[in-house]
């Protein structure tokens, strides 16, 4: 044991430390992603890393798992200083990472996925029987009833996550790093995942957990480490912390997601949905949205809360014209827009900010400015050619009004942070001059500071008469700027509340178990 370094950042705990990172620094050119970070992983316990986007969480995890090497600093594993040159070396020492995006082959079955790249060979052939036996054992260990010969693509996302974990365990991982493992899981699947995590820790496996979902992470964690701008700002065991402590250390100040804008009257009904029924777009024999009726007035902010699969996204996509309803109709003001195309609906004044901004929101090959003007360029193209000056003015105004931090309109869209990319998507739709703005999970994957800015922007626009409908799966976000909260459960509205509701009431109405 040669831990001759100081521990002034982090109180020594009596628990056994498996891995400790000391004075880790990493720079990319002039950017200092990590500055002198100390980090301990305790045997058989969960350590959660909190931090906004760009705080350096992923960089630190990539260093611990050998994906990248630190500029300076030491990694001490079981009291010995180690250097990982690549992920395989770290894996050989028992450190595995499960990335946010699953690295599984959907066309192969469970067994082949678990043994992908390290097949058991006997007499020059793959020993499928042995692989299957081991897979079965793994599934029993994880108490998951999954057939090893089941094609992966037939499993639910949560089960696929379990397979990814099973693969890590089968490589005798002692330290398992999970980057946002719950971002695509339903509440029930999260419970299963947490049970697996508890099983693993009881067997001595150490878990490093990263999540934007603070409430959820608090439920499972034993230790919390907070990073901000590449610096470790706080460290504490679970018993000493609460949600407010995390948020305070993440953003560095008392922060709040805003309150419903007041001091003005709502206008006429801007959007009316009547008896909307949407069949399962994946071909299932049920309706993802079932007889939904909803009215939103100009200037009103409505929050749609619900779990994954509650029908929120389908409702929004249908309103925007991307999905065809089975029955029912949608009125924008007095105009029936049920049969219009996406483009016609945008022209009439209804715009959607989609949930997945990378996949559905942005064109990665175009610049910030071109993304901002994309939805409105057809509008102001008078004659044949688009007037450059008009477009540049629109882009400049948009960048200012939604406060995008960018080096200029020509910057590549990929150079922006997640929060700023989201602002570009919102700015693009606002540039079309909508009367109704739908936002599907506008806060997904953006940090808490950017969230507050997005909500502030929406509140301002509502004051100017925009009807805003946003969906979320975080209760804290319901209780921010929304005048009215609608809870969806299995395609139906299960409850409506005004802004004085409590978190527990919302969660109960969504069919979610109240855990606090």
């Amino acid at each position: 044991m040669s831990l001759a370094h100081d521990f002034n950042h982090q109180p020594t705990s009596q628990d056994e430390v498996v891995l400790s990172a000391r004075h880790i620094a990493k720079s990319f050119g002039n950017t200092h992603a990590l500055k002198m970070v100390n980090f301990d992983i305790h045997r058989g316990q969960v350590t959660t890393l909190f931090g906004e986007n760009g705080a350096g969480k992923s960089t630190l995890m990539k260093i611990l798992s050998g994906v990248i090497t630190p500029t300076s600093g030491d990694i001490i594993l079981d009291g010995e200083s180690v250097v990982f040159h690549n992920a395989n070396e770290a894996r050989a020492k028992g450190i595995s990472i499960i990335h946010q995006e699953l690295s599984l082959a959907p066309n192969l079955n469970v067994r082949d996925n678990i043994f992908m790249g390290r097949e058991i060979i006997r007499n020059g052939q793959v020993d499928f029987a042995e692989e299957e036996r081991q897979t079965r054992l793994l599934m029993e260990e994880l108490e998951e009833d999954i057939d090893p010969l089941m094609p992966l693509e037939e499993l639910r996302l949560g089960q696929q996550q379990i397979i990814e974990i099973a693969r890590a365990i089968s490589q005798n991982s002692r330290i398992l790093i999970m980057d946002e493992p719950t971002s695509a899981l339903s509440a029930a699947e999260v419970e299963v995942l947490f049970k697996v995590i508890r099983d693993l820790t009881s067997k001595g496996v150490s878990i490093v957990y990263i999540s934007h979902h603070l409430e959820e992470a608090l439920e499972i964690t034993d230790h919390a480490v907070v990073l901000r701008d590449g610096v470790m700002t706080a460290y504490a065991p679970r018993r000493d912390i609460d949600l407010e402590w995390i948020v305070r250390n993440m953003v560095g100040e008392n922060f709040d997601l805003g309150t419903p804008p007041q001091g003005y009257d709502f206008g006429d009904t801007a959007l009316a949905v009547k008896d909307l029924v949407i069949a399962d777009p994946k071909g299932g024999h049920y309706n993802v949205v079932d007889k939904l009726s909803l009215e939103v007035k100009a200037g009103e902010i409505v929050c749609v809360y619900g779990l994954m699969g509650a029908g929120r996204s389908e409702f929004m996509e249908c309103a925007a014209g991307r999905l065809k309803p089975k029955s029912g109709y949608i009125l924008l003001g007095d105009q029936d827009i049920s049969t219009l195309s996406v483009g016609q609906r945008i022209q009439s004044g209804l715009a959607l900010v989609p949930e997945d901004r990378q996949k559905d929101g942005l064109v990665q090959t175009m610049s910030v400015g071109e993304n901002l003007s994309l939805a409105s360029i057809g509008e102001f193209a008078k004659g044949l050619l688009t007037p450059r000056s008009a477009e540049n003015k629109l882009i400049k105004d948009s960048i200012k009004s939604v406060t995008v931090k960018t080096s200029g309109p020509e910057a590549a869209i990929g150079s922006l942070s997640g929060g700023n990319q989201q602002k570009v998507v919102i700015g693009k739709m606002l540039a079309t001059g909508p009367k109704v703005l739908l936002l599907d999970e506008p806060s997904r994957g953006i940090d808490i500071g950017a969230k507050a800015e997005v909500f502030k922007l929406l509140a301002e626009k509502a004051k100017e008469g925009l009807a805003v409908i946003y969906s979320t799966s975080e209760v804290a976000e319901c209780l921010s700027i929304a005048h009215r909260i609608i809870v969806m459960h299995k395609g139906k509205i299960s409850a409506q509340f005004d802004s004085n509701v409590s978190k527990e009431q919302i969660m109960a109405a969504s069919g979610e178990a109240v855990t606090h």
Binding site: R345, P354, D360, E370
Partner: protein, 350 residues
């Protein structure tokens, strides 16, 4: 070539405000530097290469591939591919030849001899029709572009063969008393010393360059090639864009067919076989990404010039046709390698 190199600056190229990076400059201007290198090399190898007349002759060869390549560029920007352009070229050439022979309407007992401009318009219309078939198949019936255009490639070639029974139309000159002369004008005449075919290419290049950089349609094309769902959700009429793109590609192929049969003074049903591959090569050498959303007319014209000047240069210095194929192939693979280098590094920008 100086005129064609002056098309609008690429809208997607990020403006670099830092000091110029030589490696980056070489990478982004690779088609241009390759062209310069080819010209210098062959000028040393042959005294006949570096002359205005030779450049004009070579450029008139480039015109055919250049026209096809511009149409192909539009399709590739959209994230598709058009394998039918070579066959469309052949079909349109034969169709033009057929019209020049006179259309015999037996039930009326008359023979129509359409004038040259009618022939040109009808031929372009046929090219557009083939393109629309492609576009509708791909946009509305969700047939993969590769398969749909592979099918039309066979069908168009087959119809061209059926129309002539496998023979070639040679009487394209027309007769003064019928008022349909002038077909050779496209392929042979010159305006201010520049072959008409080159002028056609320049005009098409300028129009397409303008369309891509300055019209809403151009932006829609880049957007739907870069991310179709995002474009759709932004109100871009992605299906219409797609159909128009294939239609334009068909018209470009028809123009190329007219120029080629005029240059050859004959219209054969097998003209343009495998030309689609040369067109794709020119687009790729010009720096466009086969995944869509990236590429410029300027680059594509440079790509067409690289291929044309290289193969004509090899002919002039007497390298065998077999070696020409090897060289062309090597240039294409090199170009794709450099493409992945360029987009691979810029895609990971943080």
């Amino acid at each position: 070539m100086s005129a064609t190199a002056k098309t609008q600056p690429a809208p997607h190229v990020p403006v670099k405000k830092e000091k110029l990076d030589i490696g980056r400059l070489l990478l982004e201007g690779r088609a241009f530097f390759a062209l310069i290198a080819i010209i210098i090399f062959f000028s040393f190898m042959s005294p006949h290469y570096f002359s205005v007349n030779n450049f004009l002759i070579m450029s008139s060869h480039v015109a055919i591939f250049g026209l096809l390549a511009i149409g192909m560029l539009l399709v590739i920007l959209n994230g598709g591919i058009d394998l039918s352009v070579g066959s469309t070229l052949g079909l349109c050439g034969v169709f033009a030849g057929f019209l020049m022979q006179g259309v015999n309407l037996e039930f009326l007992g008359i023979t129509l001899y359409p004038s040259l401009w009618v022939v040109v318009l009808l031929t372009c219309g046929l090219g557009a029709a083939v393109g629309i078939v492609n576009g509708v198949l791909i946009a509305h019936f969700k047939v993969p572009a590769f398969v749909a255009t592979l099918g039309t490639m066979y069908v168009a070639r087959g119809i061209a063969l059926l129309m002539t029974n496998g023979l070639t139309y040679n009487q394209l000159a027309g007769k003064p008393e019928l008022g349909n002369t002038g077909f050779e004008w496209l392929g042979f005449n010159r305006l201010a010393g520049v072959p008409i075919s080159v002028l056609v290419l320049i005009a098409v290049a300028l129009l397409c360059g303008l369309m891509l950089s300055r019209t809403a349609f151009g932006r829609w094309l880049y957007a739907s090639g870069g991310n179709e769902t995002a474009a759709d959700l932004s109100g871009v009429p992605i299906k219409r864009v797609k159909i128009v793109v294939y239609m334009l590609s068909g018209i470009c192929a028809a123009l190329a067919g007219l120029v080629l049969s005029s240059q050859l003074t004959s219209a054969g049903p097998t003209a343009g076989t495998t030309y689609e591959l040369t067109a794709i090569a020119a687009v790729v050498i010009g720096g466009a990404a086969l995944t869509g959303g990236r590429g410029t007319v300027r680059g594509t014209i440079l790509g067409a010039l690289v291929i044309g000047y290289l193969s004509d240069g090899l002919v002039i210095i007497g390298v065998s046709a077999y070696w020409q194929t090897v060289f062309t192939g090597t240039v294409i693979v090199l170009a794709v390698l450099l493409n992945s280098l360029q987009y691979g590094s810029s895609g990971k920008s943080r």
